[in-house]
Assembly symmetry: C4
Homo-oligomer: 212 residues x 4
Amino acid sequence: MSRDTARVEAFSDAVIAVALTLMAVQLLQFGRTEAPDEDLVSKLENEWRAFLAYVITFAIVGQIWLTHHNSWRYVIRVDQMLLVLNLVMLMFVAAIPFTANQLSDHLRGSAVDQQISAAIYVGAVLGEALFFNLAWWWARWRGLLTPDLDPRLAELVSRRYLLRPLLYLGAFAIVFINPILSLLAYLLLVAIYLIRGPGDLPPGGQAEAESR
Amino acid sequence: MSRDTARVEAFSDAVIAVALTLMAVQLLQFGRTEAPDEDLVSKLENEWRAFLAYVITFAIVGQIWLTHHNSWRYVIRVDQMLLVLNLVMLMFVAAIPFTANQLSDHLRGSAVDQQISAAIYVGAVLGEALFFNLAWWWARWRGLLTPDLDPRLAELVSRRYLLRPLLYLGAFAIVFINPILSLLAYLLLVAIYLIRGPGDLPPGGQAEAESR
Amino acid sequence: MSRDTARVEAFSDAVIAVALTLMAVQLLQFGRTEAPDEDLVSKLENEWRAFLAYVITFAIVGQIWLTHHNSWRYVIRVDQMLLVLNLVMLMFVAAIPFTANQLSDHLRGSAVDQQISAAIYVGAVLGEALFFNLAWWWARWRGLLTPDLDPRLAELVSRRYLLRPLLYLGAFAIVFINPILSLLAYLLLVAIYLIRGPGDLPPGGQAEAESR
Amino acid sequence: MSRDTARVEAFSDAVIAVALTLMAVQLLQFGRTEAPDEDLVSKLENEWRAFLAYVITFAIVGQIWLTHHNSWRYVIRVDQMLLVLNLVMLMFVAAIPFTANQLSDHLRGSAVDQQISAAIYVGAVLGEALFFNLAWWWARWRGLLTPDLDPRLAELVSRRYLLRPLLYLGAFAIVFINPILSLLAYLLLVAIYLIRGPGDLPPGGQAEAESR
């Protein structure tokens, strides 16, 4: 692995780490804008959506980190285009706290508001998934991946990555039926991607991780 | 140590570093919302709880970093589940500034408010301790720790980690007697864990650290 | 490469990563200050400039990261002055989100406001470009670059870096004709610098990256 | 150098990087709270102190990073106490943006307000310098520094570090004469410490940096 690859990983991780903790800034501020004479129980009742947005953001951005971590294990070289694709992906990742916040804010809004905030949210998630896929395809096409990567495994991983935006679109479509159902579908998708699939870290971390 | 382990450590450190400095953002904002005609002395009198929350957060999150640092020295491999457990632990860590803020905000509130904010706080700290323990147990069970780790030492470390959530629950119980006493109990616990125990860095840092 | 160089890169990357995500904090807050009875469509109409500032910031700061990344690949030693020049450059980088925000805020303001905010913006960008160039010249002059760097390539890279502040000044001048045209000129400049030039990562990342 | 040392450096750098960029968050917010009908020129007149606080913070925190960077080059081992001392130092560093903000906010306040805000500021800076010195002394005493470090150089470096808090106290005393003079004295001190002294990186970065 070249020094460049390590630096790109570290930079991506820093952006993702800040994005993860952005929602905690939001939590901090919620408590301060309320009427000071309100008691804590009613405050919490008004704020439960902030907690929901915090958990959703952590789940989705955390899963993106895991996927990024798993896919970059195979990258041994970088070129200018891969860095640009990675940066655009990070732009969408850093916008996810904002969109998750909108989503949870409008859970009790009008049907139109719910659908628009769901559309903004799915826009950020789809943008991330799209540029993640483009970066992966580019790395495969330009020979930036380790030669140790079995072509059949690479093919399986590619298909798995490609499936993700399609599933997100499916979860988005459910918002026209019920916005909370749509939210649960997103969380279900995260859970599915946390289950080990091709290209993920092996159970017990033997062999492969060690030989590098 | 594999490259994966180093990357997980760096990512965890970034999240913890942002969580540590979140309270400083809070400090910055406190000064701005007050009446501009108030003089600085009365401002500071109103703000002392913000300083308290800052110190508590730094003490607790700093101690979590130390413990994380000490335990990950033994991790030589990672798998998908360990990463997920680590991410959930980080979710609780990043929520600690918010809960410490609530705790200090309600020190002078009603008894019910004090107990609820203490419960929220202990929830974040217990969640962190729980997933920290789960990650440690998982790493031991799946053989992700260095074979150089003496099984008796591993056992001692495990017990010490397990004790932490129980002590937190004890400190929480005190809130029903006196909330400030409960806060002092938390700080005492942090101090106790800063004292060297099994699995911590050796005094003078000889031997072990070097041989790696 | 010495350990010092790696640490300076990691520190610079952390500052740049936080600067990149600062605009996301801004996005989060925009949603909260509006009248709660306003519907989401009219909110978004009022907020489109926040999205624009977010994209501009990401484009410019992202491009700065790329350029920094490419130029520091050649640095093998650091001295005190290089660190100071790098720190001052980071000071201007961290101010870019603020200036981009001002720029987008005043797109619909009076002509004077547009020109002042454009001047503040170009001030931050020129300051960054100036100290970036100073750091590069210093590193060349003091022999801090790798001896593998072809002097003719170094010369080409130097000229390319030097051109950047001049182009920024050109884009700034356009604000006296039309502020939106000026903004588009900035984005065009970013796009131009993303195209591979001398000193950038080679296509396919072969050879050079590997031999290190 | 052990892996522990590198991780402590990376963590410290992340905290310092976030502290550096905290003031940029502050800048972003200043622009938003003003009356929307105010024009940009009068806004900037009201905000010049925010820019001053931004530059002061960057100068002081940047200089702390440089000093930290220079002193940790000699650390080859860490123990529990060194980590705790380093964490307490970081707690003071992360509070500097808040205190610099107070300082610049009260430049035009009453004499008492000026002196109190200067006292808070010097408190944070002295706390940082104190724990920085304690960490350095501890590392020397417990043999955590590289054996290559010439004892005479170590002695010179120790004295230089010790001088810093005394100079800060001197700059603080000037606030009773004139607060702006006191501020200039702080900036002068930063400039003095940026000049190469014993233990800093050698000019041209030869020899020493390379041999590691």
